[in-house]
């Protein structure tokens, strides 16, 4: 494409080639530039590794936190006694009334299972667990009410749903009052909400700083190649052509940083799975740390590549134009 000399043909135009061939040429030229940029990384392995490590580690922290939070989510979702509801039966209710109630409740779709504890059983259990055995023997009558333990289905086990179910249950006339045993779960959810926000904040801050770091690395690369850039401009290279290798460098930083974050996250999770397991047995949880699924791995790589590209794009836009041949 010559602006000054209409009849003058150049480069790709010169030989008669089909669109398809042009596409192939375009593709191979990009592949060639990508490979060249990769080669450049290898020429300064230490410096490249540092940039890649910054990318990788910055993704590791939020990813690890994210995976932990997601695991906790899974726990609360899977927990059977997450929301165990205790219903205390009204005093006057007979055994027949209670049987009727149980029969009715069994048809409720929200309820997974229920268990009846008679006043006698309750007293017996209390005696054993409290150690007030003889004192209780001295009681004239059994002060404990009959209790129905309700286990909601998974869908209705979340704190909010369980409370809703409790409300509905206490409408039944045989029931004096009820109580959801979800305090620990509520606390867990609150912690998770905070952690979720923290993860986002940390991620945003880290990502911004990483973009700046990559941008600065690319800026240094650009200044190191100042002469080369000037010469290329003198012989007719467009800004786009000059920028491309630097963008590929950013891309490679991103790809390698992403792969590095996979490895570090996997190591961290493996390391932490033991201590997490210990904590969770306190909650009587059968726990297997769910690790990296495909979607998470993809997201990590994508984020890393994006940061590499954005960082280099910023520098390239800003500094390649500035270098003018003298």
């Amino acid at each position: 494409m010559s602006i000054l000399f209409k009849s003058r043909q150049s480069g790709a135009q010169q030989s008669q080639i089909s669109k398809q061939q042009k596409l192939v040429m375009w593709f191979t030229s990009h592949v060639r530039q990508a490979i060249t940029s990769f080669g450049e990384l290898l020429r300064t392995p230490a410096a490249s590794f540092m940039t890649i490590a910054v990318l990788g580690l910055s993704i590791t922290l939020p990813s690890t936190l994210y995976i932990l939070v997601k695991n906790l989510d899974n726990i609360s979702a899977n927990t059977q006694d997450a929301a165990e509801i205790s219903l205390f039966i009204r005093e006057g209710a007979t055994r027949a009334d209670v049987d009727q109630l149980i029969k009715r409740l069994r048809t409720w779709p929200e309820i997974d299972a229920l268990q009846y504890i008679s006043p006698e059983d309750a007293l017996q259990e209390f005696k054993q667990q409290s150690g007030f055995g003889s004192a209780i023997d001295a009681l004239q009558s059994n002060p404990l009410p009959a209790v129905l333990l309700i286990y909601p289905t998974e869908k209705h086990g979340s704190p909010a749903a369980a409370k809703f179910l409790l409300n509905k249950l206490t409408q039944e006339r045989e029931i004096e009052l009820g109580k959801v045993d979800i305090e620990w779960l509520e606390r867990l959810h609150a912690i998770m909400a905070v952690t979720n926000e923290l993860v986002t904040m940390i991620a945003v801050l880290l990502f911004v700083s990483v973009i700046l770091i990559v941008g600065n690395t690319i800026r240094l690369n650009i200044f190191n190649k100042r002469n080369e850039i000037m010469v290329m401009k003198l012989v007719g290279a467009t800004d786009g052509f000059i920028q491309r290798p630097f963008l590929y460098t950013g891309l490679w930083y991103g790809v390698l940083g992403g792969i590095m974050s996979w490895i570090t996250v996997a190591l961290l999770l493996w390391w932490m799975s033991y201590s997490i397991g210990d904590i969770l047995t306190l909650y009587r949880q059968e726990f297997v740390l769910a690790g990296l699924d495909f979607a998470t791995l993809n997201t990590m790589l994508l984020m890393s590549v994006l940061m590499g590209l954005i960082g280099s794009a910023i520098s390239v836009k800003r500094y390649v134009d500035q270098i003018e041949p003298e």
């Binding site: 010559s2 602006i3 000054l4 150049s10 040429m25 003198l234 041949p325």
Partner: protein, 228 residues
């Protein structure tokens, strides 16, 4: 081909490098530009290659007003101009071959054509046997010839040379000028800035003379006129 109309150039800082310069180089002409150091020779070449813009006046190439060329299009203009620099402007970490291939790679030539054209250009300047050398391992004259090969490898219609014989001995200088004559014979307009007056005197080419930024002479060298 190259036309200056009332061109003045004042550098930021107030240094007036050219004032009211007018001339016209015809297509296929070979022209020398001479003048003392600081007369504005390099400035003139920079205005043609769009490394600088005139403060006043207009520069035309092939009838196109360069003031209408946007920043973005400058790269495409330079592909039509083969430039040779006194300080060579080579990529020191690339082989001779890669240096000469650069304009072709930038223009996206297919690999085979790059091979054959670089080969031909290096053959022309007599450096075929050194194509895998790094520029640093070449003599000044050889580096100059690499620069020339690079300037002509995509067969531009215009060739600009700034002190192409700068620090070469007379025999080598003569060889280089012969090269430019070849390119000129092949149809290119050639514009050479030099203060090697001895060299010019031995030839019969149109010579523009600058002094303090003003064009004081535009004509054929006397020896040539004498013969006429």
């Amino acid at each position: 081909m190259i036309k200056f109309v009332d061109v003045s150039k004042t550098y930021p800082g107030g240094q007036r490098a050219l004032s009211k310069v007018n001339f016209h180089v015809e297509p296929g002409e070979m022209v020398f530009l001479t003048g003392h150091s600081g007369a504005g020779k390099s400035t003139m070449l920079k205005l043609i290659s769009l490394m600088e813009r005139p403060t006043v006046g207009k520069v035309f190439i092939n009838g196109h007003d360069l003031s209408h060329i946007s920043r973005h299009d400058v790269a495409y203009i330079r592909r039509d101009i083969g430039m040779i620099f006194q300080n060579h402007q080579l990529l020191m970490d690339k082989s001779v071959f890669d240096n000469v291939a650069l304009p072709l790679i930038i223009e996206g030539y297919p690999r085979k054509q790059i091979q054959s054209r670089v080969q031909a250009a290096l053959d022309r300047v007599g450096l075929l046997d050194k194509k895998w050398n790094l520029p640093a391992t070449l003599s000044g004259g050889e580096q100059q010839r690499v620069g020339i090969a690079r300037a002509v490898v995509n067969r531009p219609p215009i060739i600009l040379a700034d002190e192409p014989t700068g620090n070469l001995d007379p025999a080598l200088s003569w060889e280089i000028i012969r090269l430019f004559e070849d390119f000129n014979a092949a149809g290119a307009s050639v514009f050479i800035a030099t203060h090697d007056l001895g060299l010019i005197a031995r030839m019969q080419y149109r010579t523009l003379t600058l002094k303090g930024g003003q064009m004081i002479n535009d004509g054929l060298t006397e020896s040539w006129q004498d013969r006429k």
